[in-house]
Structures are given as C-alpha cells and as structure tokens.
C-alpha cells in the first residue's frame, strides 16, 4: 500500500474506537465506512476510498465492507488482530454505498457449484421485479463473477447476500465490488467493435448510434464500455478510419464522465456536427470544453449531472451556446436564433497569382529587362548597371526584420541593410531623408555595388506590371535572393519597384528604383528548395562554415530536373583558407534518379584549387546513397580528392562510412570512383584510406561495373607510404610467371635456354645478381621453387648459412 494508507489507518482506528464505545453490538461493520453516523464525513470517506480505488483496481471497494479481501488492513502488521470483525455474515443491517465507477463486480463464492442459469435465476427471482443483465459472466476458481452496470441493481444484489438458500442448502453469498473489468484493446477486440459499429451506422444520414454500446448483444463477451478512455479512443480511431465524414454521433447512455480525451474528435472527425451525450455522468458544463472546437449545430446533454447545476434553463442554454456558438438545437429543442454579428468570418482571401500584366505585350520586354539586369546584378561587378540607370535616377532601399522572428543567427542579421535603410518612419530628419535617397546613376550604382553579392531566383519572381505605356513602365517584383558571399549564404526576401523609361539609344533605363529587403519567412524557405518537375528534395541540418575564401568557394547544389528526389541530411562542411572553387558538393538527379547523402562531413584546409569535389550524379533512374562520408584533406594543391559516384543508367550504389585522410599530396592523388554504367550496382562499406607523402596518381580505387554486374567491397583498409629502393627495383618489372615447361635437369651449358620467357629471364638475372650464383644454379633454384623469386632467395639464404652451397655454384 502507498504511504497514504497510513492516514487512512489512523482514521479507521479512531472510528473503531468510536464504535467500541457506542456501536459495537449493533453494527460493528460500520467501522470501515461509518454510514449514517455523519453524513458529511461519510461522503468524504467514500470519496477517499473511491479515489484510491481509481488508482488501484485491487483495493477492496468500500461497499462490501468486511466481506472481501481485506488487503488495506492486512497490509499493516497487527491489523489482523483488530477488533473489526473478519466477516460480517449474519449481520443484517448493511448499508450499500454507491461507488464512483459505473460498474459493479458481483462475486458469488462457490457459484461454480451451480449452473450459470441457476445462479442468475435465483438472483433475478430475489430482486424481482427488477431485472438485470449480467455482463461477462465467468467462473473464476470456485467463484462465479459477473458485472452489472446499474447502481440500483448492485445495491439490490448487495442486499441479497446470504438471503437466497440454494438447492444444496447453502445460502448464496453475494459480494459486490465497485470495479470495472480489465480489458486490453487488441486487434481482435477492435474488429468486433468495428462490426458492431458498422451495424449501428446509418450511411444515409452519416450517423453512428453508439447508445449503450457496451450492452450490445454482439459485445457481450468483452467489456467494451466507452467511458473507459482507451476504449473510446479505439472507437474514435475506428470511426476516423472507416467513416471520416461522420456527421452525427450518438454517445447516449455510456456512463461518460471525463471528456478530456474527446479533444481529438475535432481533428479526427472534421465533419461532426451533431453530438448526443445524454444520460451520461458529465458533471460540469466545463467538462465539455475539450469539445469546443467542434462546429456543433446540435447537442444533447439531458440526463447529465451538469444540468442540475443550473436553476435557470435560459442561463443553461446561453452558457452552452457560449461554448458552441453555432448550435441551433439543444436537448432536442430548436434554439431561438442567436443574434450574432455579421463579421463575415468565413470569408477567405482570394487565391494569389504569380503575375499580373496590365498589358500582355509587355511580358517579353519585362522578362528580357529583368534577366539582363539581374545577370549583371548577380555578377562579380555591378558597375555595368550604370547603363541600366537614367542620368537622374533615384534609388532608395529600406529594410526591416520580420515581426516575431525569434531567429537570432548571424545569417538573419540585416545590419548591412538596416544601416542604409531609408525607412522614413525611423528616418525623420529632412536632411537624412534626402541623403538616403541615392540620386544620379553614379550614386545609385555605387550604392548597389556595396550591397552584398547575390544570386536572384528569377524563376520564383512574382512580377506585376502596373504601368506599360510608351513613355513609362512601372513594375514590381517580389522574390528571393541568396547572399553568395555572406557566411551561411542567407536567403532574403525582397520587394522592388522599377520605374522604367525609354532612353535615347532605343533601349530602356530605370529612373526610379525602390527596394525593400527583409528575411524570408519559414514558408518561403521551405519552398525555396524545390524541384522543377515532380521531384522533391530535402536538406536537413546543413552546416557550413567557411572562412577566408575569395571566390565562389562553396557551392552546395541540389538539382532535381525531373522526377528525381534526393536528400542531404547532416551535411557539415568546414572550409578554411581556400582560394577558388574549392568545394563543390553537387547532387544532380537528371531524370527519375534519387539519391541520398547522410552525415557528410567535409573538412578542408589550406587548399588552392578545385580540391574537393563530391559529386553524385544519377543520370537516369539511378539511385545512390552516401552515408557517413568523412573527408579530411590538408595541404593539397590540385584536384586532389574527388569522390565521384555516377550511376549512368539504372545503376545504384552505396558508400557507407567512407573515411578519407590525405596529407601533403601534390597531384590528382586520390580518386575514389564508383561507376555503374548500366544496371550495375555496387557497394563500398567502411573504406578507410590513409595516404602520406605521395607524388603522383598514387592511389586510385576504381570500381566499375560495366553491364549488369554487381559487386561489393566490405572493409577496405589501405595504408600507403614511400617505397623502398628494393621495391622500386623489383616492382613492375615482371608479371606473373607463365606456365612454361620447366627445364628438366641442370645442364652444364652456361647459356640460358632461349625458350625462357622474358619474365623468367628477368627473375633469373635478379636472383643471379642478388646471390652471386651462376645462371645454372640460379635456374635450378628457381625451377625448384616454382619460379618464386622470394622463396628462391629465402632458400638460398638458408642453404648458404648452413654452408650447403658448393663453391662451383658461384663460378660464372
């Protein structure tokens, strides 16, 4: 028992003392619950007991007094010897106390001796004219156990204890406990519920009648009471799966009490308009709050305790309406029409359009103008924009933060703009207002040149052509651009207006330019990364840290031209001290290909040119995947590391845990290529490559699968260092020996057998040089060792140290 039981114990003892003085002879069983002695206190005690009971199904319920198992008391030493009687049999005046739960367990000890029908008939006869439905009747050991869901019946049965004499002469003992059957909602039960619900569903009215659900004859086997949240939630899931457009739900007479879990109704059943909750146990109007977001037009609440709390029916109606303003019918009665406010709350915004053109004739001109303008604007130098501005052009820029934008990252800071912002709400000085308006094309272009370098997403522009006359064009743009040279490459949202006039040379120039810059909203960012047709991709957790770079150093491109999808997750890129196009992570899926890079870590320092390129191309239908790619490169000079993964057609491949560590290399040193030209697939797992001090094309790991082939390398470790002199001398000089007929016996002829292959001749020479033996003996030695130079040398050394080689062997 929890500690709290101690408190109860003290109460109980005090009660006990009390009864010892006053009451013992007449009603000793009262001690536990003291019915009748003090109404208020009794209530309190009952509440306490039931509250405990809710926590622990095993705790004996108050109503049965001393009859049931006395766990609470037995749990404490010494209580067994308490003056409380261990059994109350024979004591006539028992008081039934209603419990908090709507269900009562009826235990008939030794009920197993009789047929179910005999027991039930005896009980029914006894409490006649009342009738009851025994739920879930079962034999448990010697006892028969069943449940009733009616407090009145429970009380009658309670009083039937030891009143009925059975055929065997014993009195029928009846124990009543306020408890609910335990039940697990499994697939089997859900299936049964579904069938019953299907039976109770009216497709014509989209109405589901779950009145007294647990009493459905088809559910007699299982305890399926909707007042239990787990069962109600299962029921709602079944409804949402099978009749998501349900409009009316009848939950009358289901002993519902708390409705907190019904909150999900508003998300699961969006069309629900009619809800019947009559004859339940809903205690307060406030208990309905979880249902407030349902747009109910009809509600039935009669038969709930909450109604008793209202003396005035009008106040009741008005309070219910406050919670459900759209209600037109309550408790089966049409409500007088509510007088509301015509605030047109259902009005929606008109759909937005990508562009508006006052004159379609202007489309090409505008497109051409903007394409040219932003091509220069996004280039290295904005100076050529001088041509695009009128001699007396004016330009102003204003910038501001988004409201309630909690992002406080370096990338979202607009300092570079705000310091030049001509927001006249803030800039109130006449002089300042004049100064912040850039006038004349020189001033304008010089100002524009100082703005961060950008790349505009021209395809994503929303362009409105407002004025299109021979003398004047006014157009506004809304769109996004990326700052290419700012750490983190932040994306900004802008709104810009051009007033364009014809210039003397037959072209056009801008006379008014007004720019507003702000950060992108979450919405804008999420759509910004998009695929041109049907493709989708996703970059999650891309961290990029770049320092001291000068030119387009880092480009992370993700293109899915048609139907391709790819995904970069946890891409970390750390680059320092690089000078040119150093790192490019490209992921292209040209058609239908999909790929995925997970956990790509790239660390590059002190490199000078096109050093690291991680390319992943899936040209058609190919898919590939790089997981945990770690690349660490230092002090390299040229095209050092290239990790390419191409799947030209239908091929798929996968690199997992690729670690590459390269130092002090000079040229094309490491190339890990994985090509699957057609239908091939391959897989590299746990490739570790460590390279030092190499000079040229040193290491190349190539994996080609030209047609339909598949292969797989698992756990490849490579360690490379400088070669020794011997290695250089011996390596690459000869291939594997060919199978040639060995010369049978050593012949005295010193001339080498001309049938020797070059390879063998070379081995012969090498052995001769290294051992000093003559050709004949060398040949002998090699032939005996199967033309294995190493073995031949080994044997020579061994024999010589033993002095077994005759001196004539060295005579040439």
């Amino acid at each position: 028992m929890p500690k709290r039981g101690g408190g109860r114990m003290r109460n109980w003892k005090a009660d006990n003392d009390h009864f010892e003085h006053d009451d013992r002879a007449t009603n000793p069983r009262r001690v536990s619950f003291k019915p009748g002695t003090n109404k208020g206190k009794n209530k309190f005690n009952a509440w306490k007991n039931t509250a405990k009971l809710l926590l622990d199904d095993d705790v004996d319920m108050g109503a049965s007094g001393g009859q049931g198992p006395r766990k609470p008391y037995r749990g404490r030493g010494g209580r067994l010897g308490s003056p409380a009687p261990r059994s109350g049999y024979g004591i006539t005046k028992k008081k039934f106390v209603a419990g908090m739960l709507p269900w009562y367990q009826i235990i008939i000890p030794y009920g197993a001796k009789h047929d179910k029908d005999v027991v039930l008939r005896a009980l029914l006869d006894h409490i006649s004219p009342e009738i009851f439905i025994p739920h879930y009747y079962k034999i448990n050991g010697n006892a028969a156990v069943f449940y009733v869901d009616d407090v009145k019946i429970a009380e009658k049965l309670f009083h039937a204890d030891r009143k009925i004499i059975m055929s065997d002469g014993f009195k029928l003992v009846v124990i009543v406990r306020n408890t609910v059957p335990n039940v697990n909602v499994d697939a089997d039960m859900k299936e049964k519920m579904k069938l019953v619900m299907a039976k109770r569903y009216n497709a014509a009215t989209k109405a589901l009648d779950l009145t007294k659900f647990h009493a459905d004859p088809d559910l007699s086997e299982i305890f399926c009471a909707l007042f239990r949240p787990v069962i109600m939630l299962a029921a709602i899931d079944i409804i949402a799966e099978n009749i998501p457009d349900l409009e009316a739900l009848n939950l009358n007479d289901n002993k519902l009490h708390g409705l907190e879990h019904l909150k999900i109704l508003s998300t699961k059943l969006k069309s629900l308009k009619i809800l019947y909750l009559g004859d339940n146990r809903i205690p307060f109007l406030g208990s309905l709050d979880p249902l407030k977001s349902l747009p109910l037009v009809e509600l039935y609440l009669k038969g709930n305790p909450l109604l008793n709390r209202f003396n005035d029916h009008d106040i009741y109606i008005s309070d219910v309406r406050k919670k459900f303003p759209k209600l037109v019918r309550l408790d089966g009665v049409d409500l007088p029409p509510a007088i509301g406010f015509d605030v047109s709350e259902d009005v929606t915004l008109p759909p937005r359009q990508q562009s508006f053109l006052i004159d379609p004739a202007g489309q090409d001109l505008v497109r051409e103008f903007l394409t040219q303008y932003f091509a220069i604007f996004d280039s290295e130098s904005r100076q050529p924009l001088l041509e695009a501005y009128h001699e007396s052009a004016t330009m102003s820029m204003a910038a501001n933060y988004l409201t309630n934008d909690n992002r406080n990252m370096p990338a979202t800071r607009l300092n570079q703009y705000i310091s030049n912002s001509r927001n006249i709400i803030r800039i109130t000085e006449r002089e300042s207002r004049r100064r912040y308006l850039r006038t004349g094309k020189l001033q304008v272009v010089s100002f524009l040149s100082d703005l961060p370098k950008t790349t505009h997403d021209l395809m994503g522009f929303a362009v409105d052509l407002l004025v299109f006359t021979p003398a004047m064009i006014v157009l506004t743009m809304n769109g996004l651009y990326k700052e290419t040279n700012t750490p983190g490459s932040p994306t900004r949202s802008f709104h810009r207006t051009f007033v364009i006039v014809p210039n003397s040379g037959g072209g056009f120039c801008i006379i008014n330019d007004m720019l507003y810059v702000t950060n992108t909203t979450k919405e804008q960012v999420s759509v910004e990364a998009n695929a041109n047709s049907g493709g989708g991709f996703c970059i999650i957790n891309d961290m990029l840290y770049v320092t001291n770079t000068t030119k387009e150093q880092v480009s992370v491109e993700a293109n899915a031209n048609s139907g391709g999808g790819f995904c970069i997750i946890n891409d970390m890129l750390y680059v320092t001290n690089t000078t040119k196009e150093q790192v490019s992570v490209e992921a292209n899926a040209n058609s239908g290909g999909g790929f995925c890079i997970i956990n790509d870590m790239l660390y590059v320092t002190n490199t000078t040119k096109e050093q690291v390129s991680v390319e992943a191309n899936a040209n058609s239908g190919g898919g590939f995947c790089i997981i945990n790619d770690m690349l660490y490169v230092t002090n390299t000079t040229k095209e050092q590391v290239s990790v390419e993964a191409n799947a030209n057609s239908g091929g798929g491949f996968c690199i997992i845990n690729d670690m590459l560590y390269v130092t002090n290399t000079t040229k094309e040193q490491v190339s890990v290529e994985a090509n699957a030209n057609s239908g091939g697939g391959f897989c590299i797992i746990n490739d570790m490559l460590y390279v030092t001090n190499t000079t040229k094309e040193q290491v190349s790991v190539e994996d080609n699968a030209n047609s339909g082939g598949g292969f797989c390398i698992i756990n490849d470790m490579l360690y490379v260092t400088n070669t020794t002199k011997e290695q250089e001398e011996s390596a690459f000089k000869s291939g594997m020996p060919e199978a040639i007929p060995p010369t049978p016996a050593p012949t005295p002829t010193p001339a080498p057998t001309p049938s020797f292959s070059n390879d063998h001749q070379m081995l012969l020479n090498t052995l001769g040089q290294q051992t000093g033996m003559n050709e004949h003996w060398s040949l002998n030695c090699l032939q005996e060792t199967g033309w294995d130079l190493q073995r031949a040398l080994f044997i020579f050394n061994q024999l010589q140290s033993e002095g077994k080689i005759p001196p004539e062997a060295f005579i040439k």
């Binding site: 605030v343 047109s344 709350e345 009005v347 929606t348 915004l349 008109p350 759909p351 937005r352 359009q353 990508q354 562009s355 508006f356 006052i358 004016t394 820029m397 204003a398 910038a399 501001n400 988004l402 409201t403 309630n404 912002s421 927001n423 006249i424 709400i425 006449r430 207002r433 004049r434 308006l437 997403d457 994503g460 522009f461 929303a462 409105d464 407002l466 004025v467 003398a471 004047m472 506004t476 809304n478 769109g479 996004l480 949202s493 709104h495 207006t497 007033v499 006039v501 006379i511 008014n512 007004m514 507003y516 702000t518 909203t521 919405e523 804008q524 999420s526 759509v527 910004e528 998009n530």
Partner: protein
C-alpha cells in the same frame, strides 16, 4: 527644376507618404466602404497578382476581403519625374508591415507599392500593388 525644388519635392514625397498611409490603412481597416474614393476612377489595384481595374470594381473587391488590421513598419517614398506623368505631381510610395485578416487572425508580412497622383487638390491612387510575403515559386 532647380536642385532646391527637387529636394523640397523629396521632402514633400515623404510627408505625403506618411499622411497618405495613415489615411489609407485607417480607411481599409475601419471604413472600407469608403476606401475606393482614394483611387482614381481608372485606378488599378493588383492584389497578390489579381488585377482589378476601375474604382467600382476595386470597391467591390475590397468589400469581399475579410476584415483586416494593418500595422505599418517600414515606409519609403520617392517623387516621380513630372514630365513622365503629364506634369502631375506623382509619388511612389512603398509601405511594408504586417496584416492580420479576421478569417484566420494570423499576422502576415505584406509589401505594398502605390503610385499616387495629385488631382484637383486631392491625392488619388493611380496604381496599388499589394503582395503578401509568401512563396511564389511553387
């Protein structure tokens, strides 16, 4: 035009923009039925890419929008060279801030550009381009 006149015109554009936006958003938010009076008879409203031509149609379009509350955060204004616009005083005004519509009560950033022109002693909107800051490249 002398430099002094040009600069005075710049000052005037700013002051007019302040006054104009005060009136305009008050009308749109509180007295929308009167808003179309601020437009030229041949005025143009481009609302999120939906073009509405003419004072009457603009009035009807505005009346169909949910109730609104605009909060102005950023304002900018420039004068337009008068010889472009038949020597009528014309200003370009850019107003940015947040708007809340009653249908969803969500604050949305918006940007709006007006061309206003002085006609018979009254400022009238020749064109009004309104854009919510939402993704357009989808």
């Amino acid at each position: 035009m002398s430099t002094e006149v040009v600069l005075k015109n710049v000052d005037n554009a700013c002051e007019t923009a302040e006054e104009f936006t005060r009136v305009f958003y008050k009308q749109v938010d509180n007295s929308r039925h009167l808003t179309s009076k601020l437009y030229l008879d041949t005025g143009l409203l481009v609302w999120n890419g939906n073009g509405i031509n003419g004072n009457d149609k603009i009035q009807k379009f505005l009346m169909d929008l949910p109730g609104s509350n605009h909060v102005l955060k950023t304002l900018d204004a420039q004068p337009i060279s008068e010889n472009l616009v038949s020597n009528k005083l014309t200003y370009l005004i850019q107003a940015c801030g947040d708007v809340t519509y009653q249908n969803d009560n969500i604050k949305k950033p918006f940007q709006q550009t007006f061309l206003i022109v002085a006609v018979d002693g009254k400022w009238k909107i020749a064109s009004d381009c309104f854009r919510l800051q939402v993704p357009y490249n989808s």
